[in-house]
Amino acid sequence: MIPTPDLSHLNSKDFRNIYEPAEDTFLLLDALEQDQDELRALHPSICLELGSGSGCVTTFLGSLLKPSLAYMVTTDINPHAAVATVATGKKNGISIDTVETSLVQGLLPRMRHSIDVLCFNPPYAVTPSSEIAGNGIEVSWAGGIDGREVIDATLPFVKELLSEKGIFYLLLVSDNKPDEVVSLLQVEGFNAHICLQRLAGREKQLIVKVTRRT
Protein backbone atom coordinates (compact mmCIF):
# COMPACT_ATOMS: atom_id res chain seq x y z
CA MET A 1 0.00 0.00 0.00
CA ILE A 2 1.21 3.46 -0.86
CA PRO A 3 0.85 5.84 2.08
CA THR A 4 -1.47 8.83 1.78
CA PRO A 5 0.80 11.88 1.78
CA ASP A 6 1.56 13.46 5.14
CA LEU A 7 -0.11 16.88 5.15
CA SER A 8 0.58 17.67 8.81
CA HIS A 9 2.53 20.80 7.82
CA LEU A 10 -0.75 22.35 6.59
CA ASN A 11 -3.36 23.63 9.03
CA SER A 12 -6.93 24.90 8.93
CA LYS A 13 -5.64 28.40 8.16
CA ASP A 14 -3.88 27.07 5.03
CA PHE A 15 -7.08 25.35 3.98
CA ARG A 16 -8.86 28.72 3.94
CA ASN A 17 -6.67 29.52 0.94
CA ILE A 18 -6.19 26.14 -0.72
CA TYR A 19 -8.45 23.20 -1.46
CA GLU A 20 -8.28 20.61 1.29
CA PRO A 21 -8.01 17.03 -0.01
CA ALA A 22 -11.45 15.42 0.01
CA GLU A 23 -13.29 12.45 -1.51
CA ASP A 24 -12.47 13.57 -5.04
CA THR A 25 -8.74 13.77 -4.26
CA PHE A 26 -8.81 10.31 -2.72
CA LEU A 27 -10.66 8.87 -5.70
CA LEU A 28 -7.85 10.13 -7.93
CA LEU A 29 -5.27 8.57 -5.58
CA ASP A 30 -7.19 5.30 -5.73
CA ALA A 31 -7.22 5.37 -9.54
CA LEU A 32 -3.44 5.81 -9.55
CA GLU A 33 -2.99 3.07 -6.97
CA GLN A 34 -5.23 0.74 -8.98
CA ASP A 35 -2.87 1.29 -11.94
CA GLN A 36 0.36 1.15 -9.96
CA ASP A 37 1.88 -1.78 -11.90
CA GLU A 38 1.09 -0.15 -15.21
CA LEU A 39 2.42 3.21 -14.03
CA ARG A 40 5.70 1.72 -12.82
CA ALA A 41 6.11 -0.26 -16.04
CA LEU A 42 5.60 2.95 -18.00
CA HIS A 43 8.86 4.39 -16.57
CA PRO A 44 7.51 7.93 -16.82
CA SER A 45 10.06 10.70 -17.28
CA ILE A 46 7.72 13.67 -16.84
CA CYS A 47 4.54 13.78 -14.75
CA LEU A 48 2.42 16.94 -14.86
CA GLU A 49 -0.53 17.87 -12.71
CA LEU A 50 -2.74 20.86 -13.43
CA GLY A 51 -4.16 22.74 -10.45
CA SER A 52 -2.21 20.77 -7.87
CA GLY A 53 -3.67 22.50 -4.79
CA SER A 54 -2.16 20.94 -1.65
CA GLY A 55 0.12 18.75 -3.80
CA CYS A 56 -1.42 15.55 -2.48
CA VAL A 57 -1.88 13.84 -5.88
CA THR A 58 1.57 14.50 -7.33
CA THR A 59 3.25 13.60 -4.05
CA PHE A 60 1.33 10.32 -4.02
CA LEU A 61 2.29 9.61 -7.62
CA GLY A 62 5.94 10.35 -6.87
CA SER A 63 5.82 7.93 -3.91
CA LEU A 64 4.11 5.28 -6.03
CA LEU A 65 6.88 5.44 -8.64
CA LYS A 66 9.68 5.12 -6.09
CA PRO A 67 12.43 4.03 -6.18
CA SER A 68 12.29 5.24 -9.78
CA LEU A 69 12.58 8.95 -10.22
CA ALA A 70 10.47 11.08 -12.53
CA TYR A 71 10.38 14.82 -13.09
CA MET A 72 7.29 15.87 -11.12
CA VAL A 73 5.96 19.26 -12.14
CA THR A 74 2.65 20.96 -11.41
CA THR A 75 0.83 24.21 -12.08
CA ASP A 76 -1.60 26.21 -10.02
CA ILE A 77 -2.99 29.71 -10.51
CA ASN A 78 -3.31 30.12 -6.73
CA PRO A 79 0.00 31.26 -5.18
CA HIS A 80 -0.86 29.63 -1.82
CA ALA A 81 -1.43 26.32 -3.59
CA ALA A 82 1.88 26.57 -5.44
CA VAL A 83 3.73 27.00 -2.14
CA ALA A 84 1.75 24.18 -0.52
CA THR A 85 2.47 21.75 -3.36
CA VAL A 86 6.23 22.23 -3.09
CA ALA A 87 6.04 21.95 0.72
CA THR A 88 3.97 18.75 0.61
CA GLY A 89 6.45 17.18 -1.78
CA LYS A 90 9.33 18.14 0.47
CA LYS A 91 7.57 16.85 3.60
CA ASN A 92 7.14 13.47 1.89
CA GLY A 93 10.53 13.23 0.21
CA ILE A 94 9.33 14.00 -3.33
CA SER A 95 10.91 16.83 -5.32
CA ILE A 96 8.18 18.80 -7.05
CA ASP A 97 8.54 21.98 -9.09
CA THR A 98 5.43 24.11 -9.29
CA VAL A 99 4.73 26.89 -11.74
CA GLU A 100 2.28 29.61 -10.83
CA THR A 101 0.20 29.84 -13.98
CA SER A 102 -3.18 29.19 -15.53
CA LEU A 103 -3.44 25.56 -16.72
CA VAL A 104 -0.39 25.17 -19.02
CA GLN A 105 0.41 28.76 -19.97
CA GLY A 106 4.17 29.13 -20.46
CA LEU A 107 4.78 25.34 -20.59
CA LEU A 108 4.04 24.91 -24.26
CA PRO A 109 5.54 24.38 -26.77
CA ARG A 110 8.41 22.95 -24.72
CA MET A 111 6.35 20.23 -23.07
CA ARG A 112 4.72 19.22 -26.34
CA HIS A 113 4.20 15.43 -26.50
CA SER A 114 6.39 14.99 -23.41
CA ILE A 115 3.99 14.21 -20.59
CA ASP A 116 3.88 10.55 -19.58
CA VAL A 117 1.38 10.98 -16.74
CA LEU A 118 -1.05 13.91 -16.68
CA CYS A 119 -3.44 14.42 -13.76
CA PHE A 120 -6.24 16.93 -13.35
CA ASN A 121 -8.79 17.30 -10.60
CA PRO A 122 -10.50 20.27 -12.20
CA PRO A 123 -12.87 22.87 -10.81
CA TYR A 124 -16.01 20.86 -11.61
CA ALA A 125 -18.77 22.48 -9.56
CA VAL A 126 -21.68 24.04 -11.42
CA THR A 127 -21.47 27.80 -10.77
CA PRO A 128 -22.23 31.02 -12.61
CA SER A 129 -19.62 31.56 -15.35
CA SER A 130 -18.46 34.75 -13.66
CA GLU A 131 -17.02 32.75 -10.73
CA ILE A 132 -14.34 30.90 -12.69
CA ALA A 133 -12.06 33.96 -12.92
CA GLY A 134 -9.58 34.87 -10.19
CA ASN A 135 -6.81 33.11 -8.31
CA GLY A 136 -8.24 32.37 -4.86
CA ILE A 137 -9.63 29.15 -3.39
CA GLU A 138 -12.90 29.60 -5.34
CA VAL A 139 -11.17 28.75 -8.62
CA SER A 140 -10.40 25.31 -7.18
CA TRP A 141 -14.07 24.40 -7.51
CA ALA A 142 -15.91 26.95 -9.68
CA GLY A 143 -16.53 25.31 -13.05
CA GLY A 144 -19.18 27.51 -14.67
CA ILE A 145 -21.93 26.01 -16.85
CA ASP A 146 -22.31 22.26 -16.14
CA GLY A 147 -19.03 22.64 -14.23
CA ARG A 148 -17.46 22.13 -17.65
CA GLU A 149 -15.97 25.49 -18.62
CA VAL A 150 -12.44 24.91 -17.32
CA ILE A 151 -12.55 21.22 -18.27
CA ASP A 152 -13.51 22.10 -21.86
CA ALA A 153 -10.81 24.76 -22.01
CA THR A 154 -8.25 22.13 -20.96
CA LEU A 155 -9.20 19.27 -23.30
CA PRO A 156 -7.51 20.74 -26.42
CA PHE A 157 -4.19 20.75 -24.53
CA VAL A 158 -4.30 17.01 -23.85
CA LYS A 159 -3.37 16.23 -27.43
CA GLU A 160 -0.49 18.71 -27.19
CA LEU A 161 0.85 17.42 -23.90
CA LEU A 162 0.57 13.63 -23.87
CA SER A 163 3.57 11.61 -25.01
CA GLU A 164 3.06 8.58 -27.21
CA LYS A 165 2.79 6.36 -24.14
CA GLY A 166 1.18 9.03 -21.95
CA ILE A 167 -1.83 8.50 -19.66
CA PHE A 168 -4.24 11.24 -18.59
CA TYR A 169 -6.36 10.88 -15.44
CA LEU A 170 -9.28 13.32 -15.27
CA LEU A 171 -11.69 13.57 -12.38
CA LEU A 172 -15.32 14.43 -13.19
CA VAL A 173 -18.67 14.44 -11.44
CA SER A 174 -22.03 13.44 -12.92
CA ASP A 175 -23.03 17.11 -13.40
CA ASN A 176 -20.19 17.38 -15.94
CA LYS A 177 -21.93 14.91 -18.31
CA PRO A 178 -18.98 12.52 -18.20
CA ASP A 179 -20.24 10.37 -21.11
CA GLU A 180 -20.13 13.48 -23.27
CA VAL A 181 -16.54 14.23 -22.17
CA VAL A 182 -15.53 10.64 -22.94
CA SER A 183 -17.12 10.96 -26.42
CA LEU A 184 -15.34 14.27 -27.06
CA LEU A 185 -12.01 12.64 -26.23
CA GLN A 186 -12.77 9.62 -28.40
CA VAL A 187 -13.65 11.88 -31.34
CA GLU A 188 -10.24 13.49 -30.85
CA GLY A 189 -8.72 10.04 -31.41
CA PHE A 190 -8.03 9.00 -27.83
CA ASN A 191 -8.88 5.86 -25.95
CA ALA A 192 -11.03 7.11 -23.08
CA HIS A 193 -13.05 5.25 -20.51
CA ILE A 194 -14.30 5.58 -16.95
CA CYS A 195 -11.87 3.54 -14.85
CA LEU A 196 -13.25 4.21 -11.37
CA GLN A 197 -16.37 5.75 -9.86
CA ARG A 198 -17.84 6.31 -6.43
CA LEU A 199 -20.69 8.09 -4.73
CA ALA A 200 -19.73 10.95 -2.43
CA GLY A 201 -22.96 11.89 -0.72
CA ARG A 202 -25.38 12.48 -3.59
CA GLU A 203 -22.63 13.29 -6.05
CA LYS A 204 -21.17 10.64 -8.32
CA GLN A 205 -17.46 11.18 -8.83
CA LEU A 206 -15.48 9.34 -11.46
CA ILE A 207 -12.11 9.10 -13.11
CA VAL A 208 -11.69 9.11 -16.88
CA LYS A 209 -8.53 7.41 -18.09
CA VAL A 210 -7.22 8.61 -21.44
CA THR A 211 -4.47 7.22 -23.66
CA ARG A 212 -3.44 7.72 -27.27
CA ARG A 213 -4.83 5.15 -29.66
CA THR A 214 -2.07 2.96 -31.03
Binding site: H43, S45, I46, S68, L69, A70, Y71, V73, I77, P79, A82, V83, V86, S95, D97, T98, V99, E100, T101, S102, Q105, G106, L107, L108, P109, R110, M111, S114, N135
Partner: protein, 123 residues
Protein backbone atom coordinates in the same frame (compact mmCIF):
# COMPACT_ATOMS: atom_id res chain seq x y z
CA UNK B 1 12.66 25.93 -9.30
CA UNK B 2 15.20 23.52 -10.65
CA UNK B 3 16.90 24.22 -13.96
CA UNK B 4 14.93 21.39 -15.55
CA UNK B 5 11.82 23.53 -15.09
CA UNK B 6 13.52 26.65 -16.41
CA UNK B 7 14.29 24.62 -19.54
CA UNK B 8 10.54 24.05 -20.04
CA UNK B 9 9.34 27.65 -19.75
CA UNK B 10 8.82 29.98 -22.67
CA UNK B 11 7.46 33.52 -22.94
CA UNK B 12 3.78 33.45 -23.92
CA UNK B 13 3.03 37.15 -24.25
CA UNK B 14 0.68 37.75 -27.19
CA UNK B 15 2.57 38.10 -30.49
CA UNK B 16 5.92 37.32 -28.86
CA UNK B 17 6.77 34.33 -31.01
CA UNK B 18 10.45 34.48 -31.90
CA UNK B 19 13.60 34.36 -29.82
CA UNK B 20 11.42 33.95 -26.70
CA UNK B 21 13.36 31.02 -25.19
CA UNK B 22 15.21 30.52 -22.94
CA UNK B 23 14.18 33.18 -20.46
CA UNK B 24 17.22 35.02 -19.15
CA UNK B 25 17.83 34.66 -15.42
CA UNK B 26 18.57 37.91 -13.58
CA UNK B 27 19.23 38.91 -9.97
CA UNK B 28 18.93 35.31 -8.86
CA UNK B 29 19.55 33.61 -5.55
CA UNK B 30 20.60 30.02 -6.10
CA UNK B 31 20.69 27.14 -3.64
CA UNK B 32 22.30 23.76 -4.14
CA UNK B 33 20.15 21.00 -2.67
CA UNK B 34 21.47 17.46 -2.70
CA UNK B 35 19.29 14.95 -4.58
CA UNK B 36 19.51 11.20 -5.24
CA UNK B 37 21.64 10.41 -8.28
CA UNK B 38 19.59 8.31 -10.69
CA UNK B 39 21.41 7.62 -13.96
CA UNK B 40 18.35 5.92 -15.56
CA UNK B 41 16.25 9.05 -15.12
CA UNK B 42 18.99 11.29 -16.52
CA UNK B 43 19.46 9.00 -19.52
CA UNK B 44 15.74 9.31 -20.30
CA UNK B 45 15.43 13.05 -19.77
CA UNK B 46 18.42 14.15 -21.89
CA UNK B 47 16.36 13.88 -25.07
CA UNK B 48 13.70 16.21 -23.66
CA UNK B 49 16.12 19.06 -22.91
CA UNK B 50 16.96 22.01 -25.13
CA UNK B 51 20.65 21.47 -24.60
CA UNK B 52 22.23 24.78 -25.71
CA UNK B 53 19.64 26.72 -23.66
CA UNK B 54 20.40 24.56 -20.64
CA UNK B 55 24.17 24.99 -20.96
CA UNK B 56 23.85 28.77 -21.41
CA UNK B 57 21.63 29.05 -18.36
CA UNK B 58 24.02 27.03 -16.22
CA UNK B 59 26.87 29.29 -17.37
CA UNK B 60 24.81 32.36 -16.37
CA UNK B 61 24.70 30.85 -12.89
CA UNK B 62 28.47 30.26 -12.87
CA UNK B 63 28.38 26.54 -13.66
CA UNK B 64 30.77 25.97 -16.56
CA UNK B 65 31.07 22.18 -16.19
CA UNK B 66 28.59 21.19 -18.90
CA UNK B 67 29.90 20.35 -22.38
CA UNK B 68 28.61 22.46 -25.31
CA UNK B 69 27.20 19.36 -26.97
CA UNK B 70 25.87 16.13 -25.49
CA UNK B 71 28.71 13.57 -25.56
CA UNK B 72 28.20 10.56 -27.87
CA UNK B 73 28.60 8.18 -24.95
CA UNK B 74 26.34 10.27 -22.66
CA UNK B 75 24.33 7.33 -21.37
CA UNK B 76 27.37 5.42 -20.05
CA UNK B 77 29.45 8.43 -19.09
CA UNK B 78 29.03 8.62 -15.34
CA UNK B 79 31.21 11.68 -14.98
CA UNK B 80 29.00 13.54 -17.46
CA UNK B 81 25.79 12.28 -15.84
CA UNK B 82 26.97 13.54 -12.44
CA UNK B 83 27.67 16.99 -13.83
CA UNK B 84 24.26 16.93 -15.52
CA UNK B 85 22.59 15.80 -12.28
CA UNK B 86 24.04 18.72 -10.30
CA UNK B 87 23.06 21.34 -12.86
CA UNK B 88 19.64 19.94 -13.71
CA UNK B 89 18.27 18.66 -10.41
CA UNK B 90 20.33 20.10 -7.57
CA UNK B 91 20.51 23.72 -8.68
CA UNK B 92 17.45 25.56 -7.35
CA UNK B 93 16.68 29.16 -8.24
CA UNK B 94 14.98 30.50 -5.11
CA UNK B 95 14.53 34.18 -5.97
CA UNK B 96 15.00 36.37 -9.00
CA UNK B 97 13.45 36.99 -12.35
CA UNK B 98 13.26 35.53 -15.81
CA UNK B 99 13.37 38.00 -18.66
CA UNK B 100 12.19 37.29 -22.20
CA UNK B 101 15.09 37.90 -24.61
CA UNK B 102 12.61 39.14 -27.23
CA UNK B 103 9.95 41.27 -25.54
CA UNK B 104 11.72 41.82 -22.18
CA UNK B 105 8.68 40.69 -20.22
CA UNK B 106 9.70 39.88 -16.64
CA UNK B 107 8.49 36.68 -14.96
CA UNK B 108 9.32 36.75 -11.24
CA UNK B 109 10.61 33.80 -9.19
CA UNK B 110 9.67 33.94 -5.53
CA UNK B 111 10.46 31.31 -2.90
CA UNK B 112 11.44 28.91 -5.66
CA UNK B 113 8.20 29.34 -7.61
CA UNK B 114 8.25 30.87 -11.08
CA UNK B 115 5.23 33.00 -11.93
CA UNK B 116 4.19 32.71 -15.58
CA UNK B 117 0.85 34.53 -15.18
CA UNK B 118 0.17 37.41 -17.53
CA UNK B 119 -2.24 40.30 -17.18
CA UNK B 120 -5.41 40.07 -19.28
CA UNK B 121 -4.13 42.51 -21.94
CA UNK B 122 -0.88 40.57 -22.42
CA UNK B 123 -2.52 37.26 -23.37
Amino acid sequence: MRLITHNMLQCHVKNCNDNNFPLRLEEVEVELVEADFQPEFLQNIIGKLEWPAFVNTAVQLGNTNLPATIPDNAKDNEEFLKVLHTALLETHVQQGKMVCPNCSHVYPIKDGIPNMLLAEHEI
